[in-house]
Amino acid sequence: MGTIDNAAGVLAAEGGEGGFWQDAYPVIPHPGELIVGIISFAVLYFVYKRFVVPRLEAMLAERQRTIEGGIERAEAMQAEAKAALEQYRAQLAEARNEAAQIRDAARAEGQQIIEELRAQAQEESARIVARGEEQIAAARQQVVNELRGQIGTLAVDLAGRVVGESLADDARRQGTVDRFLDQLDGMSATDGRGGAVTVPGGNR
């Protein structure tokens, strides 16, 4: 500190202003430096406020927008893909449904055809059976009628021969024959029916 004291003494002796600033406490601000500091700071602050920070902020905002735009685009794409997938799934389900329907329809149709055929066959068989019965009945009737005629003539013949009297009187003859035949009918009813029943049984 000796040198400083010397220097201070010398400067004090000179009485110059510089001595004060040289030896002034370092915590006393130098007015010129304070003014220069304030001016530089103010000018730099103005430059930053007017140009630098707005530019940086604009860039950051644009980046934010770009990122958000990118996210939006990606989201739209994803939504589109999802929609396409949904559509595809729906189509697939529809096709499956349709196929099932077709299968069901085919099955039903087949069933129907079988039913129809069976019904037709049954009808046919029934018809055949009916016709056979009819024929049998007709033949029987015919035989009965023929037999009735022949039996009548034969019976009258035989009776005439046996009795020896000519049954000329037609009316009486007719009455007698009819009465006889009726009796015969009553007798052979059980036999004839039994025979008629056995005929379709044999056919089957």
Binding site: M1, G2, I4, D5, A8, D23, Y25, P26, V27
Partner: protein, 70 residues
């Protein structure tokens, strides 16, 4: 031997802030060691505490020059 009592005084006044800063960073280190995820929060607080503590040492150095007899 010549010297300045004010500078000696500054040396003494620096003990307090020295201990204080040590305590602050000790707490910071153990805090971060326990919960590393709180590091960012603790860092700001630790620096703030360090600054407020250091302030005393800075006052000391300023006043040491003020009261040094030159």
């Amino acid at each position: 031997m010549t010297g300045d009592l004010a500078i000696l005084g500054y040396g003494l006044s620096a003990i307090g802030p020295g201990v204080g800063i040590g305590l602050i960073f000790a707490a910071y280190v153990s805090g971060v060691a326990r919960q590393p995820e709180t590091r960012n929060v603790l860092q700001t607080i630790a620096i703030l505490g360090f600054v407020l503590c250091e302030q005393l040492a800075i006052f000391g150095i300023a006043l040491a020059f003020v009261f040094s007899g030159n």
